[in-house]
Symmetry: C2
Subunit: 122 residues, 2 copies
């Protein structure tokens, strides 16, 4: 049976930046926690909208024509097909919601992902 998920605890235990961990599933959509510092590469998702809900820190979602700044409690949907790049000067923690059909390859990880020092499972 489903248990409640405390997002901040899930984020505390996340060791890698720009890696998503699935914490819940509903109606074919995954709820994934992630944290990042720096930025990913520019990328887009042809098959789905990508929803960001910021939990802690500040996250800029760079689009080709503007920058959307998110603070905790802000929600933003990147429509399918739209190029974007999340940028965080300091560590940002967020929830991503999207269909379960995505491949990780489409996630726009940076070429050299940063990891928390001493991570044992990177």
């Amino acid at each position: 049976m489903n248990q409640p998920i405390t997002l901040i605890d899930e984020l505390d235990s996340l060791t890698d930046h720009w890696s998503q961990r699935v914490v819940a599933e509903a109606n074919g959509n995954l709820f994934k926690v992630a944290k990042g510092v720096g930025s990913t590469n520019w990328h887009h998702h042809d098959d789905q909208d990508e929803t960001f809900l910021l939990v802690a820190g500040t996250l800029e979602v760079h689009l080709r024509d503007r920058v959307v700044e998110l603070r905790p409690g802000d929600l933003f949907v990147v429509p399918r097909g739209v190029e974007h790049r999340p940028v965080a000067a300091m560590e940002a923690r967020f929830l991503i919601i999207g269909p379960s059909i995505t491949s990780n390859a489409a996630g726009g990880k940076p070429d050299a992902p940063s990891a928390v020092p001493d991570s044992q499972d990177a």
Copy 2:
């Protein structure tokens, strides 16, 4: 083009309890803010899982065999078909995520919904 949504602002301007306001749509799912005090009737949704993400206050999700207590930043998925009843001793503010196909009649509103005094749009 999509704009960022500040959930707390949307919730501040919500006048009725146990009424949902759609603030975003992605992949056929709606993101809806709601606030409540007291409880709804027992109900279930045959066609979909219902995801709660608590923004402020404390919300108990009563199930027939247990009570799940949610605090801000907690996420809980009520699986489809499962009878439930949200209960809030004091006003709770939350985000609900689910497919756009739901009828309002399935939402389990209380028989006498409470409204904020002087609401002009009830």
